[in-house]
Assembly symmetry: C2
């Protein structure tokens, strides 16, 4: 099968960052789906994994988010048949989705919404699972369960995960959803995703909240630059509130800032659950199934902002370069076929 591989940790500006290789077709294990990849999307996590590649002579296939079609199923697979359209966010410990064919444990995959194109669908799983696991499973928000006089602050709302978090937070009636952005186009994007208010995270956020008549925020999520934003977040989080974070700190944060408020801090690392394996990983299949329903009923929508094609070493490199610019809005997907052919293939 055609695959996009890397052999060493190279900058995304290096034309040799990725190479097109031909590898043997993978054979599904008992619990696996063998999936024909139709579209993938690229996440900041892909870029972080790329830079950890050791120069051991073996090719590594990156790519986690995917939309595809089931070609074959393992002997223990339940609920999926060849021909089914699926989506999933993958597993850090297996070969990635930047390839013609891909193996995924069926318990972390789900039937994807037919109302989305392959590239629209591929844009969602990883950020959707990250947002859902943090806001719903850890921070305790529940769709359709009202919150009164409560608010959430999503720092860096225009990125892929921020865009999903705004939408998921808006599933909670009464919750005031505040996002941050720093440019006119990212501010508009956040409003378009459903944010009630958008702050500028380059200016004094406490002062901007004050102007909105909001003294403290119940839940705060740090999606970028946590070292910079943690002290601010600690200052504005409400007593008994929580701060969530999805990216590592460069330096240890002063956790004592949260003590007097009896506050909590939650990490969210999407790949922690697939790593558990078996039934413990199946929560991701459940979340994606719920999300499919929410997309079909129009309550969640794709955060796709830009599509590249075809799926090749050059488009993957370009996507990594864009991601690392820190200027992207929403998600970047790469389709196997040319964009104008995509609808015909769906």
């Amino acid at each position: 099968m055609k695959s996009i591989a890397q052999y060493s940790a190279r900058t995304a500006y290096d034309p040799q960052c990725f190479v097109d290789v031909d590898l043997p077709d993978p054979i599904p294990g008992d619990f696996d789906l063998l999936v024909e990849i139709e579209a993938v999307s690229v996440n900041p996590a892909d870029a972080r994994v790329r830079m950890r590649k050791t120069d051991d002579g073996h090719p590594k296939i990156l790519g986690y988010d995917a939309a595809g079609r089931v070609r074959a199923v393992g002997s223990a697979v339940k609920g999926f048949s060849p021909g089914d359209l699926v989506w999933y966010a993958g597993d850090l410990d297996r070969a990635g989705t930047n390839a013609e064919l891909h193996l995924v444990d069926h318990r972390i995959a789900a039937h994807r919404p037919g109302s989305l194109s392959a590239s629209e669908a591929a844009s969602l799983p990883l950020t959707l699972l990250t947002a859902w696991e943090l806001l719903i499973d850890k921070m305790g928000l529940k769709p359709d369960q009202p919150r009164h006089h409560e608010s959430i602050l999503i720092i860096n709302g225009a990125g892929g995960t921020g865009s999903m978090m705004i939408q998921i937070a808006r599933l909670v009636p009464g919750l005031t959803v505040i996002a941050t952005a720093s440019r006119p186009e990212t501010k508009s994007w956040c409003e378009n995703m459903g944010a009630h208010h958008v702050l500028d995270h380059r200016a004094d956020m406490a002062a901007q909240l004050d102007q909105l008549g909001i003294e403290t925020v119940d839940q705060i999520v740090l999606l970028a630059a946590p070292d910079k934003h943690f002290p601010t977040a600690a200052g504005i989080v409400a007593p008994f509130g929580a701060i969530g974070c999805i990216v590592p700190f460069d330096n240890p944060p002063d956790m004592n800032l949260l003590m007097g408020k009896s506050a909590s801090f939650h990490w969210e690392f999407m790949f922690a659950r697939p790593r558990l394996g078996g039934e413990k990983s199946a929560r991701q299949g459940e979340i994606l199934t719920t999300a499919t329903d929410l997309v079909q009923s129009g309550r969640l929508r794709s955060t796709l902002a830009r599509t590249l094609s075809p799926l090749s070493s050059e488009t993957v490199r370009t996507a990594h370069e864009l991601i690392e610019s820190g200027q992207t809005i929403g998600k970047i997907a790469i389709t196997k076929n040319l964009i104008n052919q995509e609808n015909k293939n769906d």
Copy 2:
């Protein structure tokens, strides 16, 4: 009223650390109980507050835990009458309980269990609320709701809070309760409080867990020396597990150690809730009422280890000195009257 006051931040070895003073009797506000103090207990928090006293010429009364009898009630008080026996953990922002009379908002107080003496009762509220707010309200354990193949590790189980945490964790059927201690007498104390296993926190805890056939622990609480124990806790906490902490760090902890496990960190600061005031503080009254029932039915018991009397500048100073030795087991209470008179007064 006779009161034990401090005027400046002095070491507990200084005979002038506390002084006996006579202050005007306090007058209850609308929501207050005026309480005749029968016994108090001393907590590490008292010692930390003592060292923060500024030398402003004004007397400060420490003491938070108390068992007493209601003498008068404010106009808005519901559920309490003069003569009622009460217990509570107090409010950092008001005068303390080391006095003949004390004011407390009735919403953070409760009727105390009649099965305990005043000193046994005074030993519980602060540590009980700390343990309950962390294990039940934050970490999600529930009495009588079974947990399977789950465990909790209570680092420093023989202290006042550790002793309550062991007992509260044992209210959860199926949960394996592991405490730590470092001396034969503290190990016995933890076993006596209900710990299934007791580790030595001065030796390799991961290796000791390994010998018990336990690879990871779901919930870990740091009750002392968090800088020393945090890296160990991060290593042995289970994926999606949580670390709770009740004492400040000397240096910022390396929170990234928890990221790959998608784990959580919870602060517990008992005085955060009284500070919220009004109905938001009433959760503490609820918890203490539940605890009274649990004590009456024999499911929770006092952690009192030593009683001093009478309540004076000298006994308060001695209690602070003992607390600061770091060698205490369970709780130290001080009764207003001589110990052998206590039962007659109850």
